[in-house]
């Protein structure tokens, strides 16, 4: 690819979960991108189509892929704070189209689409962030980010630059949390068994804060942690990297809201 423009126009694909449940992750992402010298755009957007794609509804998945590609056509890059949605755009959009024109377009779109943290480190060559967090954290590697996109060292590299932060690895940090999109609802009982093992590994790490790069997995783990009455806070890694931890943690009891 050609060299990075001086001030790249980055389309932030917030993902539907962030859009709906936790806008603060969107703002943290925007802050990180702006601090790294990007112009951040948020074109009107809905869903990348992954739920349809993984449910076998290829027609809807195609329609939504086209909608996303149209919405972000003016951007140098497309960045999402999620390995899962990025995986859909990078790995699966190109599989959706047999028509040569569209397939080529999907491949070109995929080539300029990145997960947030890996975009910061791998493309913008960011090596440190200006943030402080006093305490120990543990990090869960979400499956799509880890295995579809190879994201593993990148968040750890940036977390290491956060002042006061100590990363303690949990056992089996690369094992699925049991979310799996619609799986969590369709096969709730199996999903529950998997997430119960995960929260045990999280507690065993001794860290009072759990981080990951995907809100779906985070909501699943946070929901289990509060149901079990564990005193562990849960946040998206972008919130810590951006130094934006003033909002209550995911599923955590609120401070008074506006």
């Amino acid at each position: 690819m050609s060299t990075t423009p001086a001030r790249p126009r980055v389309g932030l694909f917030a993902t539907c979960l962030v859009d709906l449940f936790r806008p603060s992750i969107g703002f943290a992402s925007a802050k990180l991108l702006e601090e790294a010298g990007c112009e951040v755009l948020v074109p009107p957007q809905t869903c990348c189509g992954q739920p349809a794609f993984n449910s076998g509804d290829k027609v809807t998945a195609r329609d939504l892929a086209l909608q996303v590609m149209d919405a972000f056509s003016g951007c140098d890059y497309i960045v999402a704070p999620s390995g899962s949605c990025t995986g859909q755009m990078v790995k699966h959009f190109p599989e959706l189209f047999d028509e040569p024109q569209l397939a080529m377009r999907a491949r070109a779109f995929a080539a300029k689409t990145f997960e947030l943290v890996s975009f910061l480190t791998d493309v913008l060559k960011v090596t440190s962030v200006e943030a402080t967090y006093e305490g120990r954290v543990t990090y869960h590697d979400s499956c799509s980010g880890l295995r579809e996109l190879g994201i593993q060292s990148q968040p750890r590299k940036l977390l290491a630059s956060v002042q006061g932060l100590e990363l303690v690895e949990m056992n089996e940090n690369d094992v699925c949390c049991g979310f799996g999109g619609t799986f969590a609802a369709k096969y709730g009982e199996i999903s529950d068994t998997i997430v119960t093992k995960k929260t045990a590994n999280i507690s065993d790490s001794g860290a009072p804060l759990l981080l990951a790069g995907d809100l779906g997995c985070l909501m699943n783990m946070a929901g289990k942690i509060t149901r079990q009455g564990k005193e562990i806070a849960v946040r998206h890694v972008a919130e810590v990297l951006a130094g934006m931890c003033d909002e209550p943690p995911i599923a955590g009891p609120g401070k008074t809201r506006k």
Partner: protein, 477 residues
């Protein structure tokens, strides 16, 4: 004759499995042992990734030329004095084998471990014909005593504890003295070794599977750790090999390539203890070995998978790494899958072999975490193939109505950004207000599948997009 699938009852099976304390205890052994051993073996071999790629390419080459390699194989088996039989279906395969056994006046038949023999229901067919079938792999022997099927393709009794095995031995081995200590695995093994030794010596026919069939030489290859496959094929007068058609490889070197990835992926060994190439019956001057050598090649739906989106599945060399690394398998074990092949490979293969109407749950019961694909020695894109089954179900309107309806509503809004914005803002603001104190919901209508097991985090308030635009407007002002 074939095992009746309970795959349509997957959810009930899984529920029972999750509440079976002995099973849950036994499954603990899968989660850690296999994974750690494989990882160590892979780390010891820097060429492993290259081997995986070469193994994938080799299997693809074979599948594209399957007819020609099968012809070569058949010719070379015959040249070595063996006989090749073809079977289109389970029933045909069973009939062929039973007839061979009968023609040699067999009373007792020993068996090495073979998944395709489970697939075709061979033991039942042999017994129905009035002969005794004895499984000789320790794990297979144990589950045969229990009247069960394997719960894992390389560790058939992995779902059992040693206490359960002791109970079975005491029930069936009536010679056992009550005072004899059988509390440890080694004592159980010694007991089984003694009983099975006599069965090996008494057998008239020995049946083994094949890990590979070598076209170049007409050899069948089996790998075992116990040596049971070798005693099964060397002591009786007749050796029958049963194998599915995709097991053929061109040359000895090709078998060597696959051997290098097979044991490492399966048990974390560099090589299984016994890798045996068998070619024809005993030679004229041989003092031991079988006098007759038959090979039964089974199709049973595989030729129909070629040329489809499921062709990649025919690369499978049955190592079990996918299930060893599967969080769903770890949770429920193999029997819940309801047929012969469990775990990710079973989730793809089962609908191909028994139909998606019966096997449809299996490709859906995956989080698509991708760990199976990442360890597959022949790089089968298992999540992608499971997704293809979901597509076929969707096209054929087999997807459950609730899911279909939910998806339709979601898609309607997702395809209309304006309506989406209005609806989500209203919904999220309301939900945020309802959950404002606790920050989560312990139950919520329409989200029972979720909130039955875990809380649903409450949204923060207005949507990100709405807040972003509001801020943009404020900055501009």
């Amino acid at each position: 004759m074939t095992l009746h699938p309970t795959s349509p009852d997957f959810k009930d099976n899984a529920h029972r499995a999750l509440h079976d304390p002995e099973l849950q205890k036994a499954l603990g052994h899968v989660q850690h042992g296999f994974i750690y051993k494989r990882q160590s073996a892979v780390e010891r071999l820097p060429e492993f990734e290259n081997l995986r790629e070469a193994a994938r390419d080799l299997k693809n080459h074979v599948l594209q030329h399957l007819d020609l390699y099968l012809e070569t194989y058949e010719r070379n088996v015959t040249a070595a004095g063996g006989q090749v039989h073809f079977a289109r279906t389970s029933a045909e395969a069973c009939e062929t084998i039973v007839n061979i056994c009968k023609s040699h006046g067999a009373k007792s038949v020993t068996k090495g471990k073979s998944m395709v023999s489970e697939e075709i229901g061979l033991n039942a067919a042999i017994e129905a014909a009035g002969m005794q079938a004895v499984e000789t792999d320790l794990g297979e022997y144990i589950i045969q005593l229990r009247g069960e099927t394997p719960s894992h393709i390389i560790a058939p009794a992995v779902h059992l504890t040693k206490e359960q095995v002791e109970g079975d031995f005491r029930r069936v081995h009536t010679h056992l003295d009550d005072a004899r200590d059988l509390s440890e695995p080694v004592q159980l093994l010694t007991e089984a070794r003694g009983v099975l030794r006599q069965k090996f010596l008494d057998a008239d026919v020995g049946i083994t599977g094949a890990n590979f069939l070598v076209a170049e030489t007409g050899s069948s290859i089996i790998v075992t750790n116990e040596g049971n496959g070798d005693l099964t094929q060397s002591l009786p007068r007749v050796h029958i090999v049963i194998a599915s058609i995709e097991k053929v490889v061109p040359t000895l070197e090709d078998a060597s390539l696959l051997l290098r990835v097979l044991a490492r992926s399966a048990t974390g060994q560099d090589m299984s203890v016994y890798t045996t190439l068998s070619t024809g019956p005993r030679r004229e001057t041989d003092p031991d070995g079988p006098e007759h050598y038959h090979v039964v090649l089974v199709d049973n739906g595989r030729s129909a998978m070629l040329g489809t989106e499921f062709e990649d599945m025919l690369r499978c060399i049955r190592c079990g790494a996918c299930m060893n690394h599967c969080p769903v398998y770890h949770a429920i074990g193999g029997h819940a899958y309801g047929w012969v092949y469990p775990g990710p490979m079973g989730a793809v293969l089962t609908p191909s072999l028994i139909g998606v109407e019966k096997g449809g749950h299996l490709p859906n019961a995956s989080t698509f975490c991708g760990r199976c694909e990442s360890v597959c020695p022949v790089k089968i894109p298992l999540p992608k193939l499971m997704r293809h089954w979901r597509e076929r179900e969707f096209e054929r309107h087999l997807t459950p109505a609730v899911q279909r309806y939910g998806l339709k509503v979601w898609a309607f809004f997702a395809k209309n950004p304006g309506l989406y914005s209005l609806a989500t803002r209203a919904a999220m603001t309301t939900l945020a207000w309802l959950g404002r104190e606790k920050g989560r919901f312990a139950s919520l209508p329409l989200a029972k599948g979720w909130t039955e097991y875990r809380d649903l985090p409450a949204p923060q308030g207005d949507t990100f997009q709405a807040q972003w635009r509001k801020r943009q407007r404020e900055t501009r002002r």
